[in-house]
Symmetry: C2
DNA sequence: CTGTTAGCGCATTCAT
DNA sequence: ATGAATGCGCTAACAG
């Protein structure tokens, strides 16, 4: 039969059926000690016969482990974050651990609440993706729960971090545009939320800035606009730029979503991409290769990052020391950029 | 202090500090019985002082409830399913329940395994999104766990279903194209996976068919192609159509992703949208409004569906009887369709 | 209203 | 190697 009844078959039941003590049953089930082959088999048989399923709560209560890993994300539904979640799911797949998701929604209050819920559920480990928790909070959490911080570099806990070198990504994207002959390069960045800039995005901005400085130019503040990371803000950003009147031949958006918005705004104005304006995004979202024309962007290996986060967590729980891990982003060249004529 | 230590403060500790018995503490904490105001306050105070956090496992073990709801999805990362998950998250937000996600990945084996994991974790209720579990399996699950089935109509358990009328969606999309003067309308549908057609998608096809029949025409098999629901398959579908040589003036893809693929293929062939070929998708994904030109599509209220699923589940757990719920999809008209000249 | 007494199902000593 | 005993932290049924 495919699905069983999950009746209240307990370890005692199989103990009786297998004519051994409950402790022995526990031992063979969890392999915590040697057991005579005959008894072992008898137990296995009983387990099979009675379709026994251990009660996780009893296990957890007795052992102190929940076999569960808390995952705190910030934006359920965002392609990049979801990619990481997927990776975590994959990375945990073969293990005995189970992920427990929570969404901070980029709101400090919500995030803190979610964190506490996770902690209340006694997760054995915690993977925090992005977010705005203070370093003190993170440290105090790390003090008694294995912690891994993804997509955010945290100076106070360097060895717990797994992230992408966003500075380099921004630098590469901008440098590529420069090499393609562009000089008046717009950057659409993200605003400061609650006084705190989203670090990732800020790093991309710094990369942009550095590339321009390295070319021997100055950053023109009129070419930098702020969006909200949402598509719509890309539309507005372009409107604003156009209104500003400062000419430009290329746009580097801090994420693909805003690049898509920008694309639409340009379309509405009958400004051709890439003939009139070249466009570069960041993230290499699923849709990026299908934009018309396909979007040049910077890939962050989200799924892989998630997998690494998961396996690093498993190592941690296994007693191994964790290593910081920085991923290098990769420029994906597609047709949305052309050499400036 | 923002984050607490989660030390082993037990109910006994606060009992002592508040000079009452553990049972009384339990009573005030869970409001299961009247308690003298003085004692209640003393308890609250102690809870506050000691930063007490109940141990969920002990609670669950003793009460038999896990305060957790299992959510079985099929494709973490797919926009529609993720929208539902978001809705569930929202719907559960204010409650004391917590969602526990699992991904069946459209693979029967994986799905069954995920189901069991969820059941093993003693979820109090189960929300199954899509999937291919047999009706028997579903029934046997429903026998001892409150169950809600989303995005899939299941004859055997009508009252547990929440889904979208995909037939109507397909019908509307096709009818709209017909009204716009199109006659040679392509449909990109999805293949039969593991011998089982994805019901949703099949319903859309039936809607397409019906609309054509209602117009007094016949369905031309040369105008129907199969994709895999992925973007890339939309590209291939268009290539195939073009190779086939049968003229057409519009394409209705069973989901937006394939529509995006189709769009790209047309772009590569220098076939203009909508001047040469009109295009309609299904799902109204995040990017649909940002396609160039913006995609006409059919909206399924994913987030709302998720919310309804969650609150229906809460009602169920509350003893209320559940009602089946069918959502009507909505045609979203954008610029990817034009009247046929 | 409140304290006492039993478990919930399992892991883990401790003896043997 | 294995059984008996104890406790994880909390809820609930039982007396008062």
């Amino acid at each position: 039969m495919a699905t069983d009844m999950h009746k209240k078959v307990t370890i005692t039941d199989i103990a009786e059926r297998a004519r051994v003590s409950p402790s022995t049953v526990s031992r063979v089930l969890r392999g915590s000690a040697e057991v005579a082959d005959s008894k072992r088999e008898a137990v296995m048989q009983a387990v099979e016969d009675l379709q026994y399923r251990p009660n996780i709560f009893a296990q957890s209560l007795a052992s102190g482990q929940s076999m569960t890993i808390g995952v705190l994300t910030q934006n359920f539904g965002s392609p990049f974050y979801d990619g990481i979640l997927q990776g975590i799911l994959l990375g945990l797949d073969k293990s005995d651990y189970w992920p427990m998701f929570a969404d901070g929604r980029w709101q400090p209050t919500v995030e803190l609440h979610a964190l506490h819920s996770l902690l209340d559920r006694r997760v054995d480990g915690l993977i925090i993706i992005g977010g705005q928790l203070s370093e003190e909070d993170l440290q105090s959490v790390a003090a008694d729960t294995p912690l891994i911080i993804v997509a955010r570099s945290t100076p106070a806990l360097p060895e717990s971090c797994i992230y992408v070198d966003n500075f380099m990504g921004g630098y590469q994207a901008t440098k590529y545009l420069i090499e393609m002959g562009h000089r008046d390069i717009v950057h659409i960045t993200a605003p400061t939320i609650n006084q705190i800039a989203i670090d990732d995005v800020y790093q991309r901005y710094l990369g942009y800035q550095q590339a321009i400085l390295d070319a021997g130019w100055q950053v023109d503040p009129r070419l930098v606009v702020e969006g909200s990371l949402q598509q719509q803000s890309g539309v507005l950003a372009v409107e604003m730029l156009l209104a500003r009147g400062r000419p430009f031949s290329a746009i580097f958006a801090a994420n693909d979503q805003m690049a898509f918005g920008a694309r639409l705004a340009l379309f509405r104005r009958n400004i051709r991409v890439p003939q009139d304006v070249s466009l570069v995004g960041f993230d290499d979202e699923q849709f990026a290769p299908y934009m018309v024309p396909p979007l040049t962007t910077v890939r962050q290996p989200a799924v892989e990052i998630g997998q690494v986060a998961a396996s690093t967590m498993l190592d941690l729980l296994d007693g191994k020391k964790s290593q910081p891990r920085v991923f290098q982003p990769e420029l994906i060249v597609r047709e949305s950029v052309t050499r400036r004529s």
